[in-house]
Symmetry: C2
Subunit: 158 residues, 2 copies
C-alpha cells in the first residue's frame, strides 16, 4: 500500500516518480561525454524524498555514474539535500524551492582519502509537468566553478 504523502513534503511533490532521459557532460580535464540517465524520487510517508540516480553509456550501455541521497524540505521554499557518489564524494546542498525550480549549492563537499578533489557543486532542477531539466556546475582539481552537466528527462512513472 502506498503510504500517504507527509504534508511537509508537498513543496517537493512535483519531483516524485521515475525520470528517464539523456545528458551531456564536459570539464576542461576530461573529454566531453554523453549519458542516459534514470532518476527516482520516492517517499515512505516520512518528511523527506529518497533520491537515486544512475547513468549509463548511451551506445554501449555500461553503467557510468551513480548517486544516492535524501532531499528534505525546510518550510515551503527551502530544501536541504545530502547525497553521495560511489567515488567517495559527499555533498551537503542547501537552497531554494520556487514552484518547480530547485536551486542549490554545496555548503560542504567532503571526500574519502582516495577520491578526486571536488570542492564545490551547484545544481539547478527545473520541472515543467513531466519534463525535467537540470544543470550541474562543479569546481574540482583546482579549477573554478563552471558548467559540468546538463540533462533533460521525462517522467515515465508517477
Amino acid at each position: 500500500m502506498e503510504p500517504k504523502l507527509h504534508e511537509d513534503l508537498e513543496p517537493l511533490a512535483f519531483l516524485l516518480g521515475t525520470w528517464r532521459g539523456e545528458g551531456k557532460g564536459a570539464y576542461p580535464t576530461i573529454d566531453p561525454f554523453a549519458y542516459e540517465e534514470e532518476i527516482t524520487f520516492t517517499h515512505i510517508g516520512k518528511p523527506w524524498l529518497a533520491y537515486a540516480q544512475r547513468t549509463k553509456h548511451p551506445v554501449k550501455g555500461f553503467p557510468m555514474h551513480a548517486e544516492t541521497g535524501y532531499w528534505r524540505p525546510i518550510g515551503a521554499d527551502r530544501v536541504e539535500i545530502v547525497l553521495v557518489h560511489p567515488t567517495g564524494i559527499s555533498e551537503i546542498q542547501e537552497g531554494s524551492v520556487n514552484s518547480s525550480t530547485v536551486d542549490v549549492a554545496t555548503t560542504s563537499v567532503t571526500r574519502t582519502s582516495s577520491a578526486k578533489e571536488v570542492t564545490q557543486l551547484e545544481r539547478t532542477f527545473r520541472v515543467d509537468g513531466d519534463l525535467m531539466r537540470y544543470e550541474v556546475r562543479m569546481a574540482a582539481v583546482g579549477l573554478p566553478l563552471q558548467p559540468h552537466l546538463s540533462a533533460e528527462l521525462r517522467r515515465v512513472e508517477d
Copy 2:
C-alpha cells in the same frame, strides 16, 4: 542478467545480499528503543557496493531510520564508505577489512543547517556466514563517543 562481480570487490563480497534482523539503540539524551532492520548490499559490476538500510518499529511497523551510500574497497584490507541519513547527516568512514570484520571510523561528519549535532561515528560489522552483527558508537550533542546501536541480522537473499 546479474553483472559479473568486479574483481576489486572480492574483499567485500561476504556482505552481498539482503539482511534482516533486530537491533537496539540507546543514548543518554533519548529513551532506549528497539527496531527491525533490513540492509541490502548490491553491486552493478562496478568496484563498489551500494548500501541501503531501513528500520521500522518492531510492534507498530512504522518506518524509523534510513541510510544510503556506497562502500568501496581499497586493496584487500581497507574500505572507504560514504553514507547519508535523511535527517541531514553525511558520514565519510574509513577503516579496515579483516576476513569478515569491517571496522571503520568517520574521518568527517557533515550536516545540513537543521540537522542534529552528530560529530563522530564508529561502526563495526562482523559477518559469520549468513549471520551479521554490527555495533555503532556515536558522539553527538556535545557527548563523547559511546555505544549507540547494536543489531543482529540474517542473510535472507544472496
